[in-house]
Symmetry: C2
Amino acid sequence: MKRIALLLVLVLAAPAALRADEGMWTYDNFPKDKVKQSYGFSPTDAWLESARLSSVRLAGGCSGSFVSADGLVMTNHHCAHSCIEQLSTKEKDFVRSGFYAHTSADEVKCPEIELNQLVQISDVTAQVNRATEGKSGEDYARAQKAATSAIEKACAASGAAGTDEKLRCDVVALYHGGVYSLYKYRRFQDVRLVFAPEFAIAFFGGDPDNFNFPRYDLDVSFIRAYENGQPFHPENYFHFSPHGAKEGELTFVSGNPGGTDRDLTVAQLAYQRDVALPERLLQLAEYRGALTMFTQRGQEQYRIGEAELFGVENSFKALKGRFQALVDPKLISAKAQTEAALRRKVAKSPALQREAGGAWAEIEKAEAEYKPRRLDYQQIEAGQAFGTKLFRYARTLVRAADELPKPNETRLKEYRDSALPQLKQGLFSRAPIYDELEMFRLSYSLTKMREILGADHPFVKKVLGKKSPDELAQELIAGTRLKDPALREKLFQGGKQAVEASQDPLIQLARAVDPEARELRRWHDEVIEPRETRATEAIAKARFQVEGRSNYPDATFTLRLSYGAVKGYEENGRRVDPITRFAGGFERATGRDPFKLPESWLAAKAKLDLATPFDMATTNDIIGGNSGSPVFNKDLEVVGLIFDGNIQSLGGNYGFDATVNRAVAVESVALTEALDKIYGAHRLVQELKADLRLSWRVERVSAPLLGPLAPPGGRPMGRGAGGRARAR
Amino acid sequence: MKRIALLLVLVLAAPAALRADEGMWTYDNFPKDKVKQSYGFSPTDAWLESARLSSVRLAGGCSGSFVSADGLVMTNHHCAHSCIEQLSTKEKDFVRSGFYAHTSADEVKCPEIELNQLVQISDVTAQVNRATEGKSGEDYARAQKAATSAIEKACAASGAAGTDEKLRCDVVALYHGGVYSLYKYRRFQDVRLVFAPEFAIAFFGGDPDNFNFPRYDLDVSFIRAYENGQPFHPENYFHFSPHGAKEGELTFVSGNPGGTDRDLTVAQLAYQRDVALPERLLQLAEYRGALTMFTQRGQEQYRIGEAELFGVENSFKALKGRFQALVDPKLISAKAQTEAALRRKVAKSPALQREAGGAWAEIEKAEAEYKPRRLDYQQIEAGQAFGTKLFRYARTLVRAADELPKPNETRLKEYRDSALPQLKQGLFSRAPIYDELEMFRLSYSLTKMREILGADHPFVKKVLGKKSPDELAQELIAGTRLKDPALREKLFQGGKQAVEASQDPLIQLARAVDPEARELRRWHDEVIEPRETRATEAIAKARFQVEGRSNYPDATFTLRLSYGAVKGYEENGRRVDPITRFAGGFERATGRDPFKLPESWLAAKAKLDLATPFDMATTNDIIGGNSGSPVFNKDLEVVGLIFDGNIQSLGGNYGFDATVNRAVAVESVALTEALDKIYGAHRLVQELKADLRLSWRVERVSAPLLGPLAPPGGRPMGRGAGGRARAR
């Protein structure tokens, strides 16, 4: 945990004058000319299309890429971590020992991974704006919901046979509502695990080294997209570079940054700094302490709890870095200057003033209104009070029974037709569930509910009665039968009647708390959110008027392309070299977790070329959600695999400082060297090295799979994005 | 955890115009006229002297009072909690079951409690200022140290036979250095436990109800001061009121508030808000999560860990309240206005400008210089890296061997002659030590050291080598023999030679890390602290010039007197009654921890008068450290026992809002009713009710025990105060 030297401040003061390498660009607005100016290379439209189609999103919150003609997908170990754990048992722990499918028949289906390939982007701003024009409050919210769900539905219906579960159509708010885009994806839910190294090398250095550089991690896994029981054959995929990347080389990263807050208003930033981030951090810190102790109960508890612990520690460190960036008064004052400049310009134009003049005050009002009920919302509706996945199943069943009979456009977002494939994948998942872990989670979260809402809160009294949190948790987890996916499927198919007849204690709890939860949801979706969204829309439009659309939008867990170069930096007066080598990993090893190299590495040491590049730092502008993104060169060859950012990159949530902000990636040659010499994964190496130069030739770009425009979705359009730790 | 409505802001803008009831007044500057104006009663000097001499301080961080002619002292259960736990065993757990000494012979010595009775206050400002005049940096620090240790030494030598361990003399910096006072105490180290109720009623409602009101707690313990093996007979003590306190009644509180930050500069407050408090809170939160799980390993682990858990949760809640107060922008801007007004006045006077004009910038500079090394300082010198009391013993032995041969005035403060009695009491304590708890603590703290300083920090590498934190902790705790108080005493007496010859692994660790730790200490004490102290002195003097000395100083864990009244308040639009009754406690009970009444209460219910007042809220201005303070009426009769503040009082660290800030106390009639009818503690009831009207008659005020002026000390004079959770 090094201290963040926030030099980005001066940069922030002049957002229109972008520095070299900054930007998480949408594919339909990529600044080819800037890249040309800086690096002498200008991507063609065909090049861009091929890169886009070679990229995939892991719907749970990561990125990846097709790296063979047979649908092989490269991503991070930590992106497939849950799958690897779900496929493990007490007897056979693939997280610890790694996984390799020697033959195609050995590839095993991941219970909960969904892949999305972005096949088309369309601008639907005009349609959405027409629907909401002149409206406010709940009218606005309902009109927007109706418009976007209609767009998504039409998109999904453009597939072969009416609504096609192989399509995923999301209307995405970009520039905080300045632009609405329809993102049409090809969806894969049959995804199988091919290879994962041991956790000890995937996450060498553990939490102490997380978000640091230099690094020595092989944070990779390979999975494969299947369709109709067969490997999918993408027309576009990245070829593996035989050389990796050299210092100074131009690098592109295509992936799905989960979210940034670079365009928030000062009031929104202050809320993050003073309320949302501190609260979330304190919750994470305490839970981390408890969960760490849970994993220390024994080897089995470590096995079943460690993926969650990784997630908690990762979020904690990321959000802590953001908090530290935000309390730097220079950052806020630079943001305030920028905002004041825009407001002055708005004030000078009567038209802009009419549209956007009151927007900043509106946002403050929304924050002020949200704040006193935020804890109720988080605990009761967002479900923090009930921290077991079994409760999530119960609530999904209860709500699906109510929502599915309604017309599509009036349902809660997560029950729209467009969202159902992902919902069902999660609900029917055969991933194992461990009573001990679920009891711990639920007991913990009920205790915190009582603390956060107060012992005298009516909701707390309703839930606990005279029971202690631990007692209630034990009863509920021991009593529920929702661990059985067949029962969940039966209840889902049985609809309202089946759910109402259920004696399951978690179903009954979910039903009992639904009135309070739904009331909070209504308030959030129809009072708070529209007020804020209308205002941010107005500001974005004002900004377009003033600046043009030369900028990139805040990240929203949609596909973005960034450019940069392999490059070192200065830290505490010392130069940090951008490339590490295998030798350094062996030097850093202590033989003790988390600095313990796996046996396989120790055994293979003599065979390895220790000068092989291991990890690298690049100036690409990325953030959480980019994990698993390919790093590629101008020939569309994979030269690396993003898995982290350096500690200085954590302030990147608010602005990009090219002098020290670095993406951290595994070098492609480290991957092939390790697969070949350490893991003997020859089938995989051959597939990666297969001499199929691909995809960037125009004629091979896939014909549109489906019709033109049209929708599903399921991801909340408003704030925040899946897979991203965002405090509110 | 309710939200704090910070209405104190307007008040803060005009600090000179104090509101009724505000103030933690020194006994030598008590605003008799204000009390007269508000309540029609003006204390005489004799009254004040009697109240002062009837008050005691628990040197570990609490307050108390003499309540009988036989040296009986009333304080809180939570102030004697450690003692009660230390006297317990696995077989006989007095925390759980309560303690009552049926006869005087059954009273048991507390291993680590020291009581201080304040016998004299003298102003030594001129002496201290003369010594430091014109000096800065380390010259300033050394001159001040020499002057204060000389004053303390002379004071201690004024006892019967040279340096008298029955005296304790501390030079205290008030008004952040505007005034230096010598506080001369009579010291008691033979303190015995007389009575404690069950933890379940002492802390009924547990952490959920902590810092809340209404409350239903009997947070009391009785201990007794002994001298020469016999009960001490104070000439001044408080009589118990037969009536308790009624709504609206004038109440005084005499006790030792640990610290407040009402006079900090804006830069100091911003540092608290942005750096110190968030960091400390995150550490506490995580440790709380882990420690809670430790206490859940089993009943015995709960028994040995629960006192520490109470402390952690209490600090966490208190500091969180402070953080929430500080992020209210209105608070900081009110403080900024006040500060700007003072600076304008300073600027208008050439003399003031010369003395104090640069002070604010100096403080900012000190903060800026401290910040980059703060984590090193906290981990290495403040000892956070080594979270076991066994390491504290080791360091004390190592440093005592180096320090004691030096002249008194050049020693580190905690090794001055004046500090040795308390040091030895702690070091030779026979309190039990539990390997499992110490291993947990040390393993935890070493892990955090690696995280906070970073795995590549040279100090981390020096301490851990290739070992994991857990491995090293196990080795050290299993290997050390410092658990044995006889060995500690032997090493202490053996001095440098004995310590250097020791093969004990913790002694060796403490010796190995001492160079780095001492270098940080030197930097802190001779660079950072003098810079800040000089500047705050200058500001205080400027303030005296401008405002006179009509104000009270920030709290410093020295005796203060506050006045107020029993009074309700408004919360979320609803009136909170100032007095609760026994009946309410029975209603609140759920039968489950922490809302489970002890058996003794359930059994006695029929005998009790359920209309008996239980706890009460008063407008007295108190803060942490006041725990255990007597609440008394104008006749010097005890009407209550302070044990907490309401949630709104947490912002009281920065300013007092009389509309909602409330002290929370047990009513004296609840104490006598419970002692009598629930606990059958007739010996104790008789002693409390003994009809000895006392102490406020002038002629009975004790003659000065000792000579006039003179010194010891041991408490850091600069920032922060013992017993107080203060983040830095």
